[in-house]
């Protein structure tokens, strides 16, 4: 059963959103979806770079109010 895993990086600074995303990827099973939220500006473009480098699926990148939400398929 695939599941949705939330990774909350609100208020976190470099390099924490990347690191917490990576930890969540390591724990996730194939088919799981990670939903990462945060407000560190550079991470919004760098998490997708990491996703590409690791050959995972970037499902969406959204701005919501004053934060962003990134969905990744593992």
């Amino acid at each position: 059963m695939s599941k949705e895993i939330k990774v909350n990086c609100m208020g976190e600074n470099c390099p924490v959103p990347l690191v917490e995303t990576r930890k969540a990827i390591n724990k996730a099973k194939e088919g799981d979806i990670l939903v990462i939220t945060g407000d560190h500006v550079s991470s919004k473009k760098e998490i997708p770079m990491a996703v590409e480098a690791m050959d995972l699926e970037l499902i969406s990148v959204k701005d919501i109010d004053d934060y962003w939400e990134i969905k990744i398929g593992v």
């Binding site: 208020g11 600074n13 470099c14 390099p15 990347l18 690191v19 990576r22 390591n26 990491a50």
Partner: protein, 139 residues
């Protein structure tokens, strides 16, 4: 083969140790392997309870500058060095300690945090690792 980042950490300065761990953890987070080589003043930071005890490389002002920097970093919610080290180990990063530095500075194995050190070694191990690395930096 996975891409690899290899870092030589020669400086024991507080800000440079931060740079090293940010690059190291960023590399791990982006799917790379990482080896960190601690030598000379950098090796002092692997002694027990010394990780965040280095001075600022500039404007230390007998420690006052460092206190100010720590306050600014806390305000910016920057993760502590100890937490960064935990992240590094958890994501599978490797730490190597230079044995010649240990001889010169009179550091014994039991002075160091052996539980986080993959190996004690010399330049040959560094070259072996660096030669298979996409990124190598001297800090």
């Amino acid at each position: 083969m996975k891409d690899k980042t290899t870092l030589i950490v020669e400086s024991g300065d507080y800000d440079k140790i931060y740079s090293a761990f940010i690059i190291a953890n960023g590399s791990l987070a982006m799917g790379m392997d990482v080896s960190m080589y601690f030598t000379f003043w950098g090796l002092n930071r692997l002694k027990k309870n010394k990780l965040d005890k280095g001075p600022l490389s500039k404007m230390n002002f007998l420690g006052l500058g460092k206190l100010f920097m720590k306050w600014k970093m806390k305000k910016a919610n920057v993760r502590s060095l100890e937490e960064m080290l935990n992240d590094f180990v958890q994501l599978g990063g490797k730490i190597f300690a230079c044995d010649m530095t240990m001889d010169i500075l009179g550091i014994e194995k039991e002075d160091l945090r052996e539980e986080i050190i993959t190996d004690f070694c010399a330049v040959g191990t560094y070259i072996k690792e660096a030669r298979e690395s996409e990124i190598t930096l001297y800090i």
